[in-house]
């Protein structure tokens, strides 16, 4: 019996965001936008969904008079990501 893939993570842009954040301590919104090549609007919506799920923390602040959004993966996000990767491995190697 295969584990169900986490619906929050099993979407292209949300998975891309969490995969980026797993490799760094924290990242600015502009960094994530640049790496995922997503539109600002779509990215904002997906980041909000990840935040509501408790997978990422979002801090909004001002830096040199410009608004700055910093995203950081939470321990819950790390656990969910690890579970997602483990479930994927089961799908790809079902005989093990």
């Amino acid at each position: 019996m295969f584990k169900e893939l986490d619906p929050i993570l099993h979407s292209q842009l949300r998975l891309a965001v969490v995969s980026l954040l797993i490799g760094v301590k924290e990242a600015e919104f502009t960094f994530i936008k640049e790496k995922t090549q997503a539109t600002a609007g779509n990215l904002s919506v997906q980041i909000q969904k990840l935040k509501e799920a408790g997978y990422i923390d979002v801090v909004k602040q001002f830096k040199d008079n410009y608004p700055q959004t910093i995203c950081k993966i939470t321990p819950e996000g790390v656990t969910a990501f690890e579970a997602y990767v483990a479930a994927l491995q089961e799908y790809l190697t079902p005989n093990q």
Binding site: Q12, L13, S19, K25, A27, E28, T30, F31, E34, L88
Partner: protein, 230 residues
């Protein structure tokens, strides 16, 4: 990137791609290493020239360059990072702490070198004692002030610590090689005079930081160029 459901293979491919992009996005820019390597290199070679060519720098001690250079360097590195950093890696906080403590240790060590001779002389004097040098051939005895022998060798031990931690922790091969050369030069410095200690310390600056700094800078600029062309 549009929103769509993924197959399992696509998910794995995306995860790998994003982790690699995150890694590529947090390149060290090499500015700190270049500046510090240049400072230590110049101080070492000026120190060597002082002995080799009997140059009198009067009030100027070449090694005070290092202490003077720490503040503008810290400012420049901070400014460049502030402008360019959009993501922070897990190791950066740890490495920042290592390099800050290293900077503080350099200050404390220089403080130690300057205080110990006069403090020791004062303690000896209070006990009615002093340190003297006796010429073996003539038997002539002259009063001398206590000093820290081969102080640059001690500094060389300190130089190797942050470089090796950074090199091993961040997998920067040029810094690991520089740190190993640093340790070899430290051993050599134990057997040569202060004149050559200066030269060796200058080489430590070149191998430990200047060359790795050039390599890091080249990689960083290349990564920046690639990002512009994506």
């Amino acid at each position: 990137m549009a929103e769509k459901q993924l197959s399992e293979q696509e998910s794995l491919r995306l995860i790998t791609e994003m982790i690699q992009k995150a890694k590529a996005g947090v390149h060290e820019n090499g500015v700190g290493a270049l500046l510090w390597g240049t400072t230590v290199g110049i101080a070492g070679f000026l120190g060597f020239c002082k002995y080799q060519f009997n140059i009198d720098y009067a009030w100027f001690d070449p090694w005070s360059l290092c202490a003077l250079a720490l503040i503008p360097q810290a400012y420049l590195v901070h400014q460049e990072r502030k402008q360019q950093r959009k993501a922070k890696s897990h190791q950066q906080d740890l490495l920042n702490a290592v390099w800050s403590i290293y900077g503080l240790s350099i200050f404390l060590m220089i403080f130690y070198f300057n205080i110990i001779p006069s403090a020791t002389a004062a303690i000896l004097k209070a006990n009615g004692e002093e340190i003297v040098r006796r010429n073996i051939a003539t038997g002539a005895i002259v009063s001398t002030s206590p000093n820290v022998f081969s102080s640059l060798s001690l500094l060389m031990i300190l130089y190797a610590i942050p470089t090796l931690i950074t090199g091993i922790g961040m997998n920067i091969k040029s810094m690991v090689v520089g740190g190993i050369i640093n340790i070899i030069l430290f051993f050599i410095s134990l057997y040569v005079t202060t004149q050559y200690d200066n030269l060796l310390a200058g080489f430590v600056g070149i191998f430990n930081w200047f060359i790795p700094g050039l390599i890091l800078r080249k990689k960083y600029l290349k990564a920046q160029q690639q990002q512009l062309h994506v």
